[in-house]
Amino acid sequence: MKQDDFEAWTRQYWNAWGDTLRSATPETSGPTPGLPGWNDAMNWWSQLAKGGMPQGDEAVSRFNSQAQGWFGQMQQLAAQFAGRSANPADITAAWKKALGGDGANPFAQMFGTMPGSDSTDPCLSDPSQWFEQAAPWLQKMQRNGRSWLGLPAFGFAREHQERWQHLMQAQLDLQQQSQAYQTLLGEAGQDAFVRFERKLGERSAPGRQLESVRALFDLWIDAAEEAYADIALSPRFRDAYAALVNAQMTLRGRQQAIVEQASAQMGMPTRTELDSAHRKIVQLERELRRLRDAVEGAAKPAPKPAPEPEARVRKAAPAKPAAKPATAAAKPKGKR
């Protein structure tokens, strides 16, 4: 892959725009097809752009995985309507269609492109994706534990069987909470389309029209953020978010319990044992500091007593505004 490839793509892309230009005549009905080669070109570009500072490579990766796809789709939307009389409802409908139609959940799509969304860390993941990632491991563990699950919960195997039962219950609960959370994100997505259309309507006034793909893209971002904030500040979201995180933690905790059990059987030190050792060390350090301070305090002459806070405050200059910076106003509270 060379820079020449990128230059070639530039030419190809320009030609595609030329085709779009020719097709965008009043006689043409219906949207023009999307511009070809965007994703491939961006992937090329990302590969070419890497190789400098690590921070630069990371930013390029984030651009490629998180941003370019959305911007490319918005370019396609803009190309469909460029130079035509289009009303907000049609533009919004086309955008919705591009994102999956009536069932579109742009928030879930966006979260799904995040680094970490394919991670096995439940806290970093889009919950449904994490569940899919973890499923093979959980299924394998379930198969291994099936013999225990088949036994009645008493006797020698009782504790083992209960651990597996708890794990499976946690798995099911996470699925349920994950769906509830996704439903709220879906609501935010639908609301985002409504707000997008409304904002487009506001931009229909003479002199307020959107003059670029970027402006159209930013308008969508505004609509989506507003819709998300509305949901995310609600008590419903609070409950769903808490239930989801709590379910993730429960499942993770139960996985850890099984891993600990297996580790202990192999004679490996467990996290619980390490935690216990760390707790003791911290407690010992605390005791040591108290003793040291007591010894040092006994050895030193009594320090000069500090003035009483109340007395010092009474002597302090009366409340007055801080010197006023250019635009920041200082507001004295005054005496209460």
Partner: protein, 360 residues
Amino acid sequence: MDGFGQGPLGFTPQSLAEESLRFQAKLRAGLETLHQVEDVDYGATAREEVWRDGTVALYRFRGDRAPTSKVPLLIVYALVNRPYMVDLQEDKSLVRGLLERGEDVYVIDWGYPDRSDRYLELEDYIQRYIGGAIDHLRREYRLDAINLLGICQGGAFSLCHAALNPHKVRNLITMVTPVDFHTSDNMLGNWTRGLDIDLFIDTLGNVPADVMNWCYLTLKPWRLFVQKYVGLVDVLDDRKALEDFLRMEKWIFDSPDQAGEAFRQFCKQFYQGNGFVKGGIDIGGRPVDLRNVAMPVLNIYAEQDHLVPPSSSKALAGLVGSEDYSEVSFKGGHIGIYVSSRAQREVPTAIHDWLAPRSR
């Protein structure tokens, strides 16, 4: 093109093609600049370590001239990000601005807690570390009390320390500091309130930095996951602007893990219990009552702060015991208050002008 101009879209295929070409030109330039950038390191000001307790260090910052203030100023940053945000680069440095105005500036660096730090508690951070740094400065300067500047969570810690040890704090400045955690516009507060924090910490131990970052980014997911990186293209042909962007990225993602027990206590007592407002904050067996914060207080908040809404910070006015309380409202966001050009002009001046007459 009949009807064109009557809808919300004012662009033509021609203008879109031109926009696309500009976009491509930026990408092409990025192939050069991304390989040229070098300086994305942080820190603009000379500093020296003057005190240490474990992984926690106290640094003194040295300006081009000797400080004129006789009272040192200790900056306490949050645990959730690295404190070099206050001295990010030469033209974005709160520390530098304060030094230029004659302040004698110290900053606590919390370091990176590891698994063995899981059982550190709020008492360790507020009394042992902040207290240790303050006691060191009191000894060195032969002063009863010093000036304290707490930022964000560091502001909440500073309020606690000042309430528990009012005789050691001469003047207190809080910047973008959460006080009322239950205001209706506090998204983080809303999310945290229903969590089973005990389960969370018992499961995770320390809270991984990536978890914290994920949580912060999802406060404004479209802006921070998507729009920001489209905006990156705008600066691909500007090496300096690109370096600034990458330096900020480095800061955002260079986050420490959070010590589990301290996190548990902070979430329960502050985010869930709203302890500054409702009471119930207990640091090492001692209750925190903001009425004991009787020293002069300057409270600086950011008008567009999505992490700590102004309503959360401004609640301080009705809670502290000080009769000398002032507020400064900054036109910007939670990060802009350190790094915007407006911040460089306004924030150090506001702090210094407020401190100077109170530090004589």
